[in-house]
Amino acid sequence: MYELVRGPLALVSFIIFFLGIIYQVVYFFKNTTKQEPAKIYGPLPSKKEISSLYPSEDIKRLARWEGSAWSMEPVFTILTSIFHILVIITPIFLLAHNILIQESWGIFPPSFSERVSDILTITILAFGVYFLYRRLFVSKIKAITSGGDFFMFLIVFIPYLTGFLAYHQIFPYKTMIIIHMISGEIMLICIPFSKLKHMIFFFLNRFFIKSEYSFFKTGNRVWT
């Protein structure tokens, strides 16, 4: 069992994960089109006329700031940013994971000390409690929560919880580590095909879609 989960199943889940991401990126570009620049007939208005018609850059910048999550919900924005960084870096720089990589491919990626990883994992689990609290008790979140959100919550947090329990050998180690590996593989497979696909579309939407909130104003594509 252990060998199966560690070897072939892990490989399969990584392949599905990466192919899934490629699929979603292709999907994005197939479903969006490059916006043609507006056709202008007749003489262009002068710079002065334009500036009297449209808000200045300063006003626009202020409006963007006022409308953004950073100004409206600073606490949640900071917390969720920390959570997202931890969710990604903790497994990547985990010593135990990287030892497995070394055993398989002979390279040893940089790793945190076990103590640091332990603290990061506890922080992630604490975020889990916080998100659960929001889903259950904050009325605006409650209004848009359905069963699927709790299901995805489990998909995301079980790998971290079981990894933590396995490391501390709180329950039988062998069972726990197998559950940990299977649940982690399920999570990887789920990312491109569930609401976790926001991981991919966050970057696609915010960099490639023409919008006042597109990063660096690089976006030039539209959905319609």
């Binding site: 479903n31 605006k140 848009i144 609401k195 696909k197 926001h198 939407n205």
Partner: protein, 115 residues
């Protein structure tokens, strides 16, 4: 021609995508002036309106009963003015999707009445 199907078919994959990308995070709430003006009533939150209008139409494959249709109409006209000021952290175009719900309503003979 089945117009309901036509609207849905044309934008089906985009509606589906938006519904599944939405992380249900509630970050769009405060960006809607109606949500703020209505004492933060969750029913005025942009994502709530999106999920319960075009999202419902998609989920039901375009077959809504009378009450559902009336509820969608109420959301699409009375609860959203399509001012396009909402901010979604993930870049979902909420007003465009709610405007599709308006299209759907119009095609079913339901729209805003001024009385």
């Amino acid at each position: 021609m089945d117009w309901n199907r036509e609207v849905l078919k044309k934008y089906k994959s985009k509606i589906k995508l938006a519904m599944s990308v939405c992380a249900r995070c509630g970050m769009c709430a405060q960006s809607c002036f109606l949500y703020m003006a209505k004492d933060k009533d969750p029913e005025y939150m942009p994502s709530y309106k999106m999920i319960n209008s075009i999202g419902l139409i998609y989920k039901k494959k375009g077959r809504l009963n009378k009450e559902e249709l009336e509820k969608v109409r109420e959301i699409a006209w009375e609860k959203c003015v399509l001012c396009t000021r909402c901010y979604c952290s993930l870049g979902i175009d909420i007003p465009w999707l709610i405007s599709l719900a308006r299209d759907y309503c119009r095609l079913n003979g339901v729209f805003k009445t001024y009385d």
